[in-house]
């Protein structure tokens, strides 16, 4: 069984939308754990539900325009399963957890959504300065979660 799964979402060609992928790249530098599965995608799709159901820890990583640029927000998702809804093109973390529960009768014991606030989502493969600076801190939070540290939910922005 995979112990942990990291699901990074974003488009590396749309500026800060690729922040999650950069965080995961940062994690992979000098960090190897055969029991951690890393999945990078432009959208979260239903076929990820099986891998999620087999994990004890799931960490979703994404960029957001809804929080200040460079801010990092961590939210515990345990128990926050939602019905999958209508679309199969893209699912939220809560809906993927719901699908995992519905289809495989299992969800990870711990699940988190780590969000990095983005400044620009225009065409380009560069992160903005504020997001670039936030990447190491987000990477450290990921490492802490993987090592079993319990982090409090971030305050709402």
């Amino acid at each position: 069984m995979t112990q942990s799964i990291i699901l990074a979402c974003g488009n590396p060609l749309r500026g800060d939308d690729g922040a999650a992928l950069r965080v995961v790249c940062g994690l992979q530098e000098g960090y190897t754990d055969p029991e951690t599965e890393i999945c990078c995608a432009q959208q979260w799709t239903p076929d990820l539900a099986e891998s999620i159901s087999k994990s004890q820890l799931a960490i979703f990583v994404d960029a957001s325009a809804a929080i200040p640029p460079g801010a990092i927000r961590l939210v515990a998702l345990s128990g926050r399963c939602e019905p999958p809804g209508l679309t199969t093109h893209s699912l939220s973390p809560e809906r993927l957890l719901g699908l995992s529960l519905e289809l495989f009768q299992k969800v990870p014991e711990r699940a988190f959504l780590l969000t990095i606030g983005g400044a620009s989502f225009e065409h380009g493969d560069q992160l903005s300065d504020s997001v670039q600076k936030a990447v190491p801190a987000a990477c450290n939070q990921l490492k802490a979660l993987l090592s079993g540290v319990t982090l409090p939910d971030s305050p709402q922005f």
Binding site: C40, A41, Q42, P46, D47, A49, E50, S51, P83, P84, G85, L86, T88, L99, E102, L103
Partner: protein, 473 residues
């Protein structure tokens, strides 16, 4: 007085479209048009780019079948460089192609069409989706997710990314396959073959309940077209083009894909951005033909792998000659999944597959190149011309879905005439018309390349939403 019934959007397909049904004074459907309402324009905006960029530009046409565009484009670039790729690279490209076929067919069958098949054409649209299927028949949902995941993971294992990978390059592939990765893939195949066989068994039992749909879903004589190998199998990555008719006769054979302009014409209609390819010898629109899974199974004399061969024999026994109903595209898709799994197994067991030589280099040696392969939905052709600096001067794409355009339009008319009663419309009636389109599994974002005829409206909006300028044509 007649009226128009509009189905907008057509749901559970890839891309954006609508269906317009014209009803005459007597309440009968008199015409049907499948309209593709989006426009991409890749053929135009790649002009001026270096040819070696083309595979990575062209794969961006689609998020479902980028691998097909990557392969057809890389093959066109191979032709520009006048080289053959190393043997291992040829097989690795073939595995990538088949892996994509598995994930794309699984998406079409389980995610998009199984709601109609499991829950019924008349089911409440709220429930008529993949998740409704999972609630009613969880095992089928498992199968779909597992097969799609296997296809996606195989692409990722080989090419580094599930969507828009850059591994296939002009001249071969960027990195050979390691023994560890090969073994990882090999270990999963027996379970996938088991799932594919279970799916086929289930679907064959269900077929009897769809007699009316089988009879009316684009069920008419037409030509079929696709790539065929020298040993008479469907040629997914390579082959020569064959046309057969509805009696199973070979109409044309051993046609070189690079000569496609000799035997394929492309018509344009004012109601859609999708072109209408046709077989030139029969003219437009009589030269209608079908491509994709149904066509591929109709074109060949054998399937080529043991388990798929058994299924193919049973499939071809459905009708005395060619299998004509487009409802059977679903059935053909499942057989092709099984075939692809067996074929990937064959390739992975070939010792050549882990050879280190995976790429050859060359500079520009031709000013024109054509690349052709079978995408999940049918034959895909990329044709480029370059100047002496290797910059693209002209590009033409003939996309799988486009080949089926004439048949799709005729198919919705057939189904609408049978199911739609204009005095008492029901959602189930209209869903059956949509389901004809779903059977073809069109990928509209891939196939919308016609230009110059459909009315076009371009609006320039300010950041605050104010209309700054507008052009209508």
């Amino acid at each position: 007085m007649g009226k128009t019934i509009t189905i907008d959007p057509v749901t559970r397909i890839e891309g954006h479209s609508r269906i317009m049904l014209q009803v005459d004074d007597s309440g009968e459907v008199s015409s049907a048009h499948f309209q593709t309402t989006q426009f991409r324009g890749f053929e135009k905006f790649c002009e001026g780019r270096p040819f070696y960029e083309m595979p990575y530009l062209m794969e961006r046409i689609c998020g479902i079948c980028p691998v097909s565009h990557l392969l057809a484009s890389a093959k066109a670039c191979d032709a520009l460089m006048a080289l053959k790729v190393p043997p291992a690279a040829g097989k690795l490209r073939r595995i990538l192609d088949l892996a994509q076929l598995i994930q794309s067919h699984a998406l079409s069958f389980f995610y998009l069409s199984s709601p109609d098949l499991i829950l019924g054409m008349d089911a409440d649209p709220k429930d008529r989706n993949l998740f409704g299927v999972m609630r009613k028949q969880p095992e089928l949902g498992h199968w779909g997710i597992r097969l799609r995941k296997f296809g996606q993971q195989t692409i990722e294992t080989l090419a580094g990314k599930r969507i828009h990978p850059g591994w296939v390059v002009p001249g071969g592939v960027n990195e050979p396959l390691s023994v560890e990765k090969r073994d990882h893939l090999l270990a999963q195949i027996p379970e996938m073959i088991d799932i594919a066989q279970k799916c086929l068994s289930w679907f064959k039992r269900e077929l009897e309940t769809f007699r009316e749909e089988i009879r009316t879903f684009a069920n008419f004589p037409s030509l079929f077209m696709g790539l065929v190998t020298v040993d008479e199998r469907a040629g997914y990555y390579q082959g020569k083009i064959r046309f057969t008719d509805s009696l199973g006769n070979i109409v044309a054979d051993n046609l070189e894909p690079e000569d496609y302009q000799d035997f394929l014409g492309e018509a344009v209609e004012p109601f859609t951005f999708m072109k209408f390819p046709y077989y030139k010898a029969l003219g437009y629109p009589d030269g209608m033909y079908r491509v994709g899974p149904l066509a591929r199974l109709n074109l060949v004399d054998n399937c080529g792998t043991p388990l798929a061969q058994q299924e193919w024999v049973e499939f071809r026994a459905l009708e005395r000659n060619a299998v004509l109903s487009s409802f059977y595209y679903h059935y053909a898709r499942l057989i092709e999944i099984l075939f692809a799994l067996e074929h990937i197994l064959e390739y992975l067991l070939d010792p050549i597959i882990t050879e280190r030589q995976a790429k050859y280099s060359a500079s520009l040696n031709n000013l024109e190149g054509v690349g052709c392969c079978e995408a999940p939905r049918g034959t895909l052709i990329h044709h480029y011309r370059v100047d002496e600096q290797g910059l693209i001067t002209w590009a033409n794409l003939i996309i799988a879905t486009g080949h089926n355009n004439l048949a799709m339009n005729r198919g919705i008319l057939q189904a609408a005439k049978h199911f739609v009663r204009s005095d008492k419309l029901s959602e189930g009636m209209l869903n059956r018309v949509e389901a004809v389109i779903r059977a073809f599994d069109p990928c509209l974002s891939c196939s919308t390349h016609a230009d110059g005829h459909l009315k076009l409206q371009v609006q320039l909006l300010a950041p605050d939403g104010r209309l700054l300028d507008e052009i209508r044509r």
